[in-house]
Each structure stands twice: as structure tokens, then as C-alpha cells.
């Protein structure tokens, strides 16, 4: 593993790792130091915490502060700052905010606390949405009346197309997200790769997976090979997990969604279908929050699209550090800024 990855490219090529977990693994491995100098790696928008816009954080905070509410959230969301504070601040001030490991844990909390209203802060991509959909179906079966979802789910492919079509940043190849692909299969990438003429390799998250994936991607870019390749065959098939997608589509419909940094991307989010509206926390708690504005100087939006590197942000490592984050890219365990800061990239 100590040898340099990939053949030396004859021209500068730019690769994007879409998934935040890949960003973290790459930084932890020190992979950039093993790449030929002509190969540049940039990070993409595949961190569900990082792409949640400010007003959605504020909406969650407003709901968490409602009397009688138990806010259940993945741990990553606890310290993401909204315009005033974070869920961790609300917990420290006496609010009932609980870290859960799955949406089913939140449903269990609702069953154990019939007099309270339990809201699950729903963020994630296609990897997570099917488990939440299954939980909603279970809640309906059990007739749980005090369980709600605050929906902030997004789907990867519209964002991928947004980046693929960008004239601002030319990306030659994509390290595609392994776990999203377990659900979607490799098939949806085929149209993307063919239309935008991009090399695509789906890879897993072990050191060997990432090394092999990046090596193959460099070779494919050099050969202008736009056939989608899977280097995570033990988990990803062309068809993906049809059952998971059926459950997801049973409960959710696509909707326009706002992404931090990318703006509104049509049909890139998931919302509860009308028949499940009673589980929609947005409908149950009609909180008014301001439009949401980015802290001056925060470059999370540009970092998420690969336009800027964390080092380009004047707040990075100074006003914005993991213990006192300004933007979500520093606080998320899949955030680009957190990876760069922690591993000295």
C-alpha cells in the first residue's frame, strides 16, 4: 500500500469524492500524499449534515424548544449551529434532545412516552431514507400518534447532475458513494456518466477499497472510459436493493429541496406522501423561522461543491474549529473541514 497510487497522468485531472465518509477515509489514510502531483482530489456534497441548510437547522431548534417535545436526532446533528444555537445548546439548557442510532429508537421513545411528542430529525440520503420509511410504516401499524419526522432527506443523483453540468468546476471523475449505491445499484450512474462524459467508480470504505477505486478511476479518466465500474462488488449490484427502494417510495415522494451551497435543486428531496402526512413534524409544528443566512466568511457552500478547499476559508482553524464550529462542514463526522482540520490535510 505504500507505493504511489495509479499511473502518473499526463495532464492535470480532477477527481471528486462525492461521499463525506470517503472524504474522511481519504484524509485518515493520507491518500493525497500518495497521489501523483497531477491528480487533484476535491470533496463533494455527499455529507447529509453539511448540506442541510441553515433554516432547516433553525426549524429543528424551534421544534425542539416546544414544550413537551422530545427531539431525537443522529449524534452528528447535535452540534451543528443554526443562526442562534445548536441542539446541544438546547439540551444543555434543559431541552429534551436525545441522540439515537436509528429512527426505530425514536419510535421506541415515543412508545415509552405517550404523553410527549417525539420528533425525529430526519437527515440522510438513499442509505438512510428506507429505514425511516420502514419506521413510519411500523408507527402506522402500531397506531403511534405521538411520533413525527422532520423531513430533510435528499437524493444524490440530482446533486451529481448539478455538479456534472457545472461550467465553474471541471471534474473528470467521480468516486461514487458506496452505501448509497447499495440501495440504488450502479444502474443510475450509467446515464449520468454517458451524458456528462465522466468516469465513475463506485467503491467501499476500507483502505484497500479506496486505493483500488482511486487507481481505477485515474486509469479510466486517462482512457476516457465512461463505463460505470463497481469496486465494491461484495455490497453493490447493478440493480441495487429493490425492496429498500420500494419501501422508500411507498412512504416518500420526491420534492424540490434546498441544499446548503447548491441552492434549490428540483426533485432532489424526499417528503412524506399525503397518506402519511400525520407523521410530518413540519405540518404538526408550524414554526416560523427566518430565511437563514450564512455566517459572514463561512465557505461551507463552496467547499461542498469542490470550488474551494477548507484552507481557503479564513475562518478555518481560527474562528471555526471542531469544538466551536461555525459551519456544518467542521462539525459533521463526514464534513470536509472536520477531516482537513483533524488530519492536517
Amino acid at each position: 500500500m505504500a507505493e504511489k497510487v495509479g499511473p502518473a497522468a499526463t495532464r492535470k485531472i480532477r477527481l471528486m469524492e462525492v461521499c463525506g465518509t470517503h472524504t474522511m477515509v481519504i484524509a485518515r489514510m493520507g491518500l493525497k500524499k500518495l497521489l501523483p502531483p497531477s491528480v487533484e482530489l476535491v470533496s463533494g456534497p455527499g455529507c447529509p449534515v453539511c448540506v442541510t441548510p441553515e433554516h432547516e437547522i433553525d426549524r429543528a431548534l424551534a421544534v425542539a424548544e416546544k414544550p413537551g417535545v422530545i427531539m431525537a436526532t443522529f449524534g452528528d446533528m447535535m452540534r451543528v449551529p443554526g443562526s442562534r444555537k445548536s441542539l446541544a445548546d438546547i439540551k444543555a439548557s434543559g431541552g429534551d434532545v436525545r441522540v439515537v442510532y436509528s429512527c426505530l429508537d425514536a419510535l421506541e421513545i415515543a412508545s415509552e412516552n405517550p404523553g410527549r411528542e417525539v420528533v425525529f430529525m430526519g437527515v440522510g440520503f438513499e442509505t438512510t431514507a428506507p429505514t425511516v420509511a420502514a419506521t413510519v410504516l411500523e408507527a402506522r401499524r402500531k397506531r403511534t400518534g405521538n411520533f413525527f419526522i422532520l423531513c430533510n432527506f435528499k437524493t444524490v443523483f440530482p446533486a451529481l447532475s448539478h455538479i456534472g453540468s457545472s461550467k465553474k468546476l471541471r471534474v473528470d471523475g467521480f468516486i461514487c458513494p458506496g452505501h448509497v449505491s447499495v440501495i440504488t445499484g450502479s444502474r443510475p450512474y450509467e446515464a449520468f456518466a454517458s451524458l456528462y462524459k465522466k468516469a465513475c467508480v463506485i467503491t467501499g470504505f476500507g483502505d484497500a477499497d479506496v486505493l483500488k477505486g482511486v487507481k481505477r478511476l485515474i486509469e479510466k479518466v486517462k482512457e476516457s472510459d465512461f463505463k460505470v465500474e463497481t469496486e465494491y462488488g461484495r455490497a453493490v449490484t447493478r440493480q441495487g436493493n429493490k425492496t429498500a427502494r420500494q419501501i422508500m417510495n411507498r412512504v416518500f415522494r420526491t420534492a424540490d429541496a434546498r441544499w446548503r451551497g447548491l441552492g434549490t435543486i428540483p426533485e432532489s428531496g424526499l417528503a412524506l406522501k399525503k397518506e402519511f402526512a400525520r407523521f410530518d413534524a413540519g405540518r404538526r409544528f408550524r414554526v416560523r423561522v427566518p430565511a437563514g443566512k450564512t455566517v459572514k466568511g463561512c465557505l461551507c457552500g463552496e467547499v461542498l461543491q469542490g470550488y474551494k478547499s477548507p484552507g481557503d476559508c479564513r475562518l478555518f482553524g481560527r474562528a471555526c474549529v471542531p469544538s466551536r464550529p461555525v459551519g456544518p462542514c467542521m462539525v459533521s463526522s463526514e464534513g470536509t473541514c472536520a477531516a482537513y482540520y483533524k488530519y492536517g490535510v
Partner: protein
């Protein structure tokens, strides 16, 4: 620092140190300012080591241990890391109203067994009861005193240039075992806490190498945080080879699934010793299998720890700043 205490202040990382700085301003002295896990004091002709720790772990019982066992071994180990023979412990209980007497008996039985195994006596104690909700069942504080008997032993929190770093076994078992139990993650695994007393193995190391200059048990914040603390205290650099750090396959697998780095996960039966290059193998043999030499101390990149990753690249290994959280996807 914000204006409220958060759970992150208790994780043993940088925020905990910020809190310690707040307190040091009120009662600083030469002994305290060493900020060692155990204080070393001269009383008459004797050199004593003194330490205290509080135990608030949840759940109270977990694979491989319980709060009682932890409360004894934790303080015994802190004293041992000074090269001292632990002798006496105090034992303070804060009990939550409603706690079952059978639970308390189980814990105190465990305390007694652990004290016997460590060769220490519980000589004084205290019991308080608080209202329901004010404690998580049981909180325990232990303080311990030991004597540094071996002549010539001088264990500071500081390493020396050229020292090799030896670890006594596999890491990350305690943290992962407790997490799996506490959060009821449902992983069926054989992972148990490594909770054990280290006084006898520490003594064996000093018997073969009296010039060991630094020893540290690895608790919250894991191996990475302990190395950073020592690098900062020594004003020297440390280089670690990731491939040489022993991690059990099942522990690594669970860490991979959850997105945790074993280098930052808590331990309760592991320590590192800093010995000269010629002594490192002797110390490793005294520790027993599966001990390993994992790195060295250098004059380069002072106050920083560098890791040669399994992929072969070198990168910085920082201290724990915020708690590790399971990944979302």
C-alpha cells in the same frame, strides 16, 4: 469556551483541558501543575503517589466489568503509572433514591474482589443518597495512595528523545463493549471491556528496566489523546506506526461499521511505557503478549504526534477534540 458545561467537557479531550485550566487558576501549585494522573509527593523520607477519580459509567454492568471494578482498578492504575505500589483506597458512593439493594450488593462485592486482586485495602469511605433523577443509579469516587519504593525510579509525564513506545496489548475494547451495551446496538460480539489492574505488570516492567521515564494508562480519549498529552508535556514529537498498534479483528470490524477510529476509543486495562531503544523488547516481554513496540519519540515536529497510516502515508494524529459519533450513512 461557551457559557455552559456540555457532555463534551467530560470526554477527556481538549474541552476537558480547557475546564481544567479554569480550575487551575483558583488553586495552582507545583504538584498540581504537573497535571499527572497521580500526584507525587515527598512526605518525610517516603515518596508517595496520590490520585482520585470519579466513575459515572452507564450502564452499571457491562461485558467484562462494572462500575465497582472500574472504580478500584482506575485509581490503582493511575497510582501504578507513577511507579508506585498502591496501598490504600477511599471509597465514596452517591446513590440514587430507588436503587435496588441487590444492585448495590453486586457492586460492592465487585469492589471487594477488585481490591483483593490489586492487593489494596479500602480504608475509609462515605455514602450519600440523592433524590431520584439526580444520579444515574450510582456514582463512585475513589482516591488512592501508594508508595514509590524502587530506588532510582522517576516517572514523570515526559518522554525523552529516542524513547521507544511499548503498549501492553490490544486497544479499544472497553469503549466499544460499553457503547454496544449502553446503546443496545444489538451487535452480538465477544468484545468485553479490558478492565483490569495494571500494578503488577507495571512493576514487572520496572524490574527489567528501571530507567522507564514515562508510563500512562490509556483511558478516555484513547491512545491518540494520551500520546498528544505526553508529546506536549515533553516538548517533543512522537511517531507511531498504525500497522503495529494491536487491534482485535472483531473490535476493528465494529469500529468500521460505526465509523469509529480505535485510536480514540477508551481503554481500561492498557498502558504505554517509554523505554530506551535497547530496553524496549525487554519491556514488551515483561508486559506479555500481545504487547507491541508501536513508535518512538523524536526531536522533530515538537508537541505533535504523527502516524504512518496503513496505506503508507504520514499524517498528523491529533488529540480527541469532540466525541466520536456513529456515522449516519
Amino acid at each position: 469556551m461557551g457559557d455552559r458545561i456540555t457532555l463534551a467537557h467530560g470526554n477527556g479531550g481538549l474541552l476537558t483541558h480547557e475546564l481544567v485550566d479554569v480550575m487551575k487558576r483558583e488553586f495552582s501549585n507545583r504538584i498540581l501543575d504537573e497535571l499527572a494522573d497521580a500526584a507525587e509527593m515527598k512526605v518525610g523520607k517516603s515518596r508517595l503517589a496520590f490520585s482520585t477519580d470519579s466513575y459515572v459509567i452507564k450502564p452499571l454492568f457491562f461485558p467484562g466489568g462494572d462500575i465497582g471494578k472500574l472504580a478500584v482498578y482506575g485509581t490503582v492504575n493511575d497510582i501504578s503509572m507513577k511507579g508506585a505500589r498502591p496501598l490504600f483506597l477511599s471509597l465514596g458512593f452517591i446513590l440514587e433514591e430507588g436503587l435496588g439493594l441487590d444492585v448495590l450488593k453486586r457492586i460492592t462485592r465487585s469492589v471487594g474482589l477488585a481490591a483483593e486482586r490489586s492487593g489494596v485495602k479500602i480504608v475509609t469511605g462515605d455514602i450519600k443518597v440523592v433524590e431520584k433523577g439526580a444520579a444515574d443509579g450510582v456514582f463512585i469516587n475513589t482516591a488512592g495512595i501508594g508508595v514509590i519504593e524502587r530506588p532510582g525510579v522517576s516517572i514523570s509525564g515526559r518522554a525523552r528523545p529516542g524513547d521507544c513506545i511499548v503498549i501492553n496489548g490490544t486497544i479499544a475494547e472497553h469503549g466499544m463493549a460499553v457503547l454496544n451495551a449502553r446503546e443496545k446496538l444489538g451487535f452480538s460480539s465477544a468484545i468485553k471491556s479490558d478492565c483490569r489492574n495494571l500494578n503488577f505488570v507495571a512493576e514487572r516492567c520496572l524490574a527489567v528496566c528501571g530507567s522507564i521515564g514515562c508510563m500512562r494508562d490509556l483511558t478516555r480519549g484513547g491512545l491518540a489523546t494520551a500520546l498528544n498529552e505526553i508529546a506536549a508535556a515533553s516538548n517533543l514529537g512522537i511517531e507511531i506506526d498504525e500497522k503495529s498498534v494491536p487491534v482485535r479483528r472483531d473490535v476493528r470490524a465494529l469500529c468500521d461499521v460505526l465509523g469509529f477510529d480505535p485510536l480514540y476509543v477508551a481503554n481500561e486495562g492498557k498502558f504505554i511505557a517509554f523505554a530506551g531503544e535497547g530496553d524496549a523488547r525487554k519491556v514488551a516481554r515483561a508486559m506479555g503478549r500481545p504487547s507491541a513496540v508501536i513508535g518512538r519519540v523524536t526531536r522533530a515536529h515538537r508537541r505533535q504526534v504523527y502516524l504512518r497510516t496503513r496505506a503508507g502515508a504520514d499524517r498528523i494524529l491529533p488529540a480527541l477534540e469532540t466525541d466520536q459519533l456513529p456515522r449516519i450513512c
